[in-house]
Symmetry: C2
Subunit: 332 residues, 2 copies
């Protein structure tokens, strides 16, 4: 399985970092952005000043605003935001050779449809095999070559290993596993949990409370994942537990900082008005609760976040209800 | 089961915080320290200036340096350091009424014997039922009344619930479970993992690396726990995952700060010389590896910490070996 040409769709921080990694791994890489002006700016500056400032782009990294440049790709990394991915994939597919694998590098659930991204790909690109790359990854650390381990989920074992070897370097370590659903559900739920942890921080509830929320939040992820058919190992691996630990420990991350602002008394409208980018956990809370309702799974923390964000629940009361639940058995 | 009188053995930060909690829960509490001078200082100051400065001790909290004061106790909380507990228990037991439960509030493995603390109690106090209280707890937060959730492990369900109700308050939430071994193994291993995370931080390896270490460290804890007969739920609960998340995220904690110093290039001897108290993870690394060897369980991270601390392994090489393992399946 030849994996010489890699096409990266999306030139945000994560897409750019992945393009650098693939190049370091010895691949020929094209980094694509929708706006020609963004591509031109990167070409002139020799870096992605907007999303990954201070990291030089090597001269042999190809920059493109033309999806036709995907024609030679042996694999495509989909690194655009979850909510924008469907129309991009629809436009991309006609340019691809048959059988070219699509690797999901975005996290989230498509709000308009409630679909996980691999379900969206099954609709939009049914002929193409699918993989997902997910785990605890700050893009800036990956771009600087700091050690990073990720799950590479792919149901086709041989293709999974081919992607591991195509993208892995000495410091960027993909670990193959077969459970696509498990990898995706972790990446979605963690943003909702990060909002909950941020609210607890903003309210000044302390580190004990945050550790309790992370623990119970992972139990929620495990319940939801099990109902979706995910493997327990996946949920407790890099794309689940690992990503939750990183995201819920990063006051500078978008979801947690949104929660902190809410906990400090700002309204959601005020908080969102001050931001360029929506925190993915805001729409995802709604999508996660819709999935949970359909499957009959109880998710008290995600439910509290959803109620605070979308139905005007009192934040202090909602958090108190979570942290002062009646005494019961731990694994009851 | 009457639970009116609580005797707390050990007046460090944790014992003092637990005494305050028990008093808030409505119990009559005696807080015991070995040194009469320490008791006198607390009585005069109205606070535990050495270990929990700034927190007022209520006047009706009894302070004692006399184990005979345990004679009326309905339950004893053992909050002295793991390595000092055995002789204290031996001296305590003759003063106790029969059947008085002993609640382990210390974490660690007894180095001299390789025994878990409940095994030590089975030898030294075979007539007394045993419980363990463990979870993500900074003592200062508990003392200030911030929300905290802990596991209360006890094989006797009725006693477990009696202790939950005797010690629980609106903000201090014990959750009963039956798995004593599971609760203890988490509390021991987490200190070794915190040293590993500290080393990674000291080396400047970043947050992605730390999240990967936490994820794989919890997998090690799960393997060791399973070999010891612990329940998976316990290992992924408050006393396992929850405590690991808190401890591996606290640069100010003793174990993590020791790791940071090592990662920054200080020797173990230099680092220990600057400290009043030994980081529990240093002896525990040795004890954990002895248990793992006996049971035939592979623990790469604990093993690397042990090699760095006790056999002079090169720190940079040991961490690199962990983070640059050959590509393989994630749950392989």
């Amino acid at each position: 399985m030849s994996m010489q040409h890699i096409f990266v769709l999306g030139a945000g921080a994560w897409g750019t970092a992945l393009a650098l990694v693939a190049q370091q791994a010895g691949r020929m890489v094209t980094l694509w952005a929708r706006e020609p002006a963004a591509i031109a700016a990167m070409a002139v500056a020799g870096e992605n000043r907007r999303y990954l400032p201070g990291i030089a782009l090597p001269p042999d990294l190809r920059l493109s605003a033309d999806l036709a440049d995907a024609a030679r790709a042996d694999a495509v990394l989909l690194a655009a935001p979850a909510q924008h991915l469907r129309p991009m994939v629809r436009a991309l597919v006609p340019h691809l050779r048959p059988d070219v694998p699509l690797v999901l590098c975005a996290k989230g659930i498509e709000i308009a449809t409630g679909a996980f991204l691999h379900e969206m790909l099954a609709q939009e690109a049914p002929a193409h095999p699918v993989a997902a790359l997910s785990g605890p990854t700050f893009a800036s650390e990956v771009a600087r070559g700091l050690p990073t381990a990720v799950a590479l989920a792919c149901e086709h074992e041989q293709l999974g290993w081919a992607l591991v070897h195509a993208l892995g370097t000495r410091t960027f370590r993909p670990y193959w596993q077969a459970d696509l659903v498990g990898a995706e559900v972790g990446g979605a739920v963690k943003n909702v949990l990060a909002i909950a942890c941020g609210i607890a921080m903003g309210l000044g509830l302390g580190e004990n409370a945050r550790a309790a929320l992370v623990t119970r939040g992972l139990a929620e992820l495990a319940r939801l994942g099990a109902a979706l058919g995910a493997r327990p190992d996946t949920l407790m691996g890099l794309s689940g537990l690992g990503d939750v630990v990183l995201t819920c420990n990063s006051p500078q991350s978008r979801n947690m900082s949104l929660g902190i602002a809410l906990g400090q008394g700002w309204s959601l409208a005020e908080t969102l008005a001050q931001r360029h980018s929506v925190a993915e956990g805001v729409p995802t809370a709604q999508a996660v609760m819709a999935v949970a309702a359909r499957l009959g799974v109880e998710l008290p923390i995600c439910g509290a976040v959803h109620a605070i964000l979308h139905t005007g629940a009192d934040l202090q009361l909602a958090l108190q209800a979570l942290l002062e639940r009646p005494f019961r058995a731990e694994a009851g």
